[in-house]
Symmetry: C3
Amino acid sequence: MSVCPVQEILQPLQSLRLIDPHTHINPHQAASRTLADILGYHYYTELAHSAGLAKERIEEPGLDPREKVRRLVPWLQRLENTAQYSWLLEMSQQLFGFEADRITEANWESLYDASLKCMSAPDWEQQVLQKSGLDQVYLTNDFDDRLQGFDTSFYVPCLRTDDLVFHLAKPTVQQRLQGATGISVTDAPSLRDALGRLFEHFVAGNARACAISLPPSFTPASVSAVVASGLVLKAFSGAELTGEEQSRLSQFVFWMLAEFCDQHQLPFDLMIGVNRRVYEQGVYQGQDLFDSRVSLVQYRELFNAFPGVVFPVSVLAETSNQELVSFAWIFPNVITCGHWWYSNIPVYIERDTRARLQAVPATKQVGYYSDMYKLEFALPKFAMYRRILAKVLAEDFVGGRGWSVERAVDLGKQVLRGNVESIFGGLSAGGL
Amino acid sequence: MSVCPVQEILQPLQSLRLIDPHTHINPHQAASRTLADILGYHYYTELAHSAGLAKERIEEPGLDPREKVRRLVPWLQRLENTAQYSWLLEMSQQLFGFEADRITEANWESLYDASLKCMSAPDWEQQVLQKSGLDQVYLTNDFDDRLQGFDTSFYVPCLRTDDLVFHLAKPTVQQRLQGATGISVTDAPSLRDALGRLFEHFVAGNARACAISLPPSFTPASVSAVVASGLVLKAFSGAELTGEEQSRLSQFVFWMLAEFCDQHQLPFDLMIGVNRRVYEQGVYQGQDLFDSRVSLVQYRELFNAFPGVVFPVSVLAETSNQELVSFAWIFPNVITCGHWWYSNIPVYIERDTRARLQAVPATKQVGYYSDMYKLEFALPKFAMYRRILAKVLAEDFVGGRGWSVERAVDLGKQVLRGNVESIFGGLSAGGL
Amino acid sequence: MSVCPVQEILQPLQSLRLIDPHTHINPHQAASRTLADILGYHYYTELAHSAGLAKERIEEPGLDPREKVRRLVPWLQRLENTAQYSWLLEMSQQLFGFEADRITEANWESLYDASLKCMSAPDWEQQVLQKSGLDQVYLTNDFDDRLQGFDTSFYVPCLRTDDLVFHLAKPTVQQRLQGATGISVTDAPSLRDALGRLFEHFVAGNARACAISLPPSFTPASVSAVVASGLVLKAFSGAELTGEEQSRLSQFVFWMLAEFCDQHQLPFDLMIGVNRRVYEQGVYQGQDLFDSRVSLVQYRELFNAFPGVVFPVSVLAETSNQELVSFAWIFPNVITCGHWWYSNIPVYIERDTRARLQAVPATKQVGYYSDMYKLEFALPKFAMYRRILAKVLAEDFVGGRGWSVERAVDLGKQVLRGNVESIFGGLSAGGL
């Protein structure tokens, strides 16, 4: 076998400018203000807590940022082996000029100060975007987000719908819905009016996707109008729903969202498999896990009912990836999308990337998204993905199939960026 | 680590002549007549459809073969990354003298014409068999196949039983059963007589296996004579069965098949895990998927009850492979068999092969079958498998265990061919 | 990519002395007496049986050891490909001076005689321990083990509790419990007293863990005192429990064990996923298999309820490894532990090791245990693991992350030995 030209493939992928199709960026404060914003990312707090740090030490109200970092740093030594730590280190080296290969109790303050200096620059946000090569950043917006005060052609809105589907019976959610739409929901028709208003608002605000995360137990289904009508009436009258009623209501609302996606030609991002609050005493955002006993067969009725809706699907369990590959191979409206959360470590990314490139049409794969909360994370996360992608392209396509480096690079570019544009609309308008 | 002698191992494996132990070849028309027979293979139609081609464009009644290919070709560009496309390309190069590395709108007609010229040769079938190194090809025969008009010592019959187990309540199946056996089934004893007649017919026709594909929900179980008797009476009286009754009837018929396999010393190929018609609007043969929530523990009663029946087991989900390996490691009558359908891509074949070679007795592994509908596919599919097998043997056995190349090649030959003969009977008679 | 310094990393790992944190060693007869003790290990008898050897041939009462080996040897040829066989060969070469690379009908007697000579030496046990580099060996003790007549600071006791949790309704288990504790159990309080007595006995006897293997269907839960009380009364009155009652009783006893682990600061080893007696006609200890449809979410209530108990978790199905990684990443009290049984082959060890090193804090990983019944197996089993660990460290950390060899070796040592000491107490006292 010839030498694998990983570096030759990696270089053009590294210089490719990107669109990040799924993040949790707050467009009003996109970049970090101190290192505490970085180390406060749940990937670090939950790992430090798992390694022994008491939750109270870092969730103390009013905790000073520098003090928070001081308390976290001693625990980093136990995490140096993790991929998550490697993001922190690469980011510190690339963005803050950090030169050591470990962040220790002896050197963290210099890193803190150096990063603070960077972050204090008035154009820090632009610097990060420039160094990260980002042309667009997709957001995750609450349904009652006003979508004002930021450039929606750069920070592209995305309508996140977990609250509507799973928490609509809560008074706070109902109040937020009324506040956002001006519609006082009482029954199924007025609920439809309200949701329609949300879609109009988001589409007018340049939204490019509707999105939701789903527990392993969820199975989409259409619900008869009669049943649905009764459930909506009950939920909005303030009565408590049984578990079964809540499930049916969730199915009804979810199905209606798919109808609106169809009507507005919005892709519907499905993030399948998360169990919320499994570790109830965990740190903020570090409480969720999953159950690998889930199947995309649960989505069969949905995928059949909405051939006109594009479903970019993320799966949380790596054991679900072959199903995702196979469903995307068969269903025209199913797209493989990124490497989500617990599957976002090299060993799983590599294998899942390999399977997708071997069996899903090249046009139907969104390679990666950062899922970041702060802009600084795009750089190291995409760097990790680009290295793995280059390795797979070199081994499987140049080595295994005799492709030229140029052709392998083209496939990499399509998966990294081209498909994001064709599937979500990208910088210009356009469909799949 | 020393240089891995992949090529040294691959060469003798490539020149080994083969028996293909599972195909869907029509022995009356085994080779393709035009390139439309090749591109009409569901692997291409379903991927092209998934990538955007409307089903109606290629399933139009009376569509001319050349026109069908013309409509498919533009979509191939989106599939060039897939393993399935690599089979098409390797076949075109090896069998039809195609010299380009892509099939495009600019060059497809020359390929069409070149392949047509090849296929028009009166001895094309023999040419393909010779170039593919095939000594025998196992078939998949409907239970009412007359098994006449072809050489059953080359095209070896196999009794496929899906219809009997899952569709026996349908009038058409009952009529076919009566037509094939001359027995008018009314109750359990006459059903047993009819199935016995089928087995006698197939065994007399040189059948070497009984086979069935099974949904994830199926659990074999023996059914009491009283219950079974009532179900058969009901099914053959034309009354509609409930879902539960259908399940019990399926179990009853399946169990009887195992009894006949025992009596006739026929291996019973179990292909476990397919959900039929998940995508109902899909192209022909491109509608089935799977649910990875299945376990071989469901087959525990069967494997215990029939120690004298050899069960070559294929699993559809790669997540089932470790169970298959472990069951074959423990149960004397469980054989690992091939790499089926959605698991038949390099990333899964490699890992599954590795696990099987590391933990299942060498005598209990059937390495590969093509599952082909047209003879031309054996060459590229087996070529893919041979390359992966050589890689695993080189890395794990020569590199990792210090074996000689010769010894590694012997293991490869056993898995590729030797075991097919010892398990199914091969060219000569014989048992495990 | 630079040359991967696997050998450089492997060497210091090979010379590291070990603590084996889980075995089935009988401390009164720790080493083998004849080669029949080696070949009688279920890994060989079950594989030989699976390959065709009749169970009766090797389970004949009063069978002479040499004759037993004579009957097994001809079947070894079919198993030469397996990892299990490679342990046998490496052990024979390293411990008995065997020089051939296959054990055959022609040379087995010389191996038998050579090993017999070794094993007959009065200090053979010490020789094996020395050559294997073992500083401590953890046991698996029945709850009524007197823990006398051996050095518990070397052969460290571990309280195995399967019988208590799953078979407490059996008269023999109840009698053993009374015999061990002197307490006549009649109700829940006296059961608690008896279990408390067991824990005191084991802790006084230097036990460092409580352990249990669990079927895929088991879900820990607290049981109300009223319900529990009725169940214990019924079970100890000799009445037969329903399946549902047995399940609740199992949950009750299991939960009480966790409470005692909490009280005594004992780690609770959970070995999750085994189905017992799936192949009922199998050889001794060769009847168990698994069902990959299991989730650690089933343990959510337990992990939340006992934050003070350390749970080293082993999973039987490789498909459970990502859940284990993720739960250990989130829950402070969940530890990844070894590579169990059907997952203890190189292909799975490598991938699981990779995932754990990439995503679980370095302090929370117990790399390996031998699970051996005879001392001779530690050497080849740990050798296999060390080679894989060195490969992963070289590729992922030195190659992929730019670590120095020294730093990679340190991580390897921590996983191989350091964590065993910090988690279980090791040679000195101490907690996590």
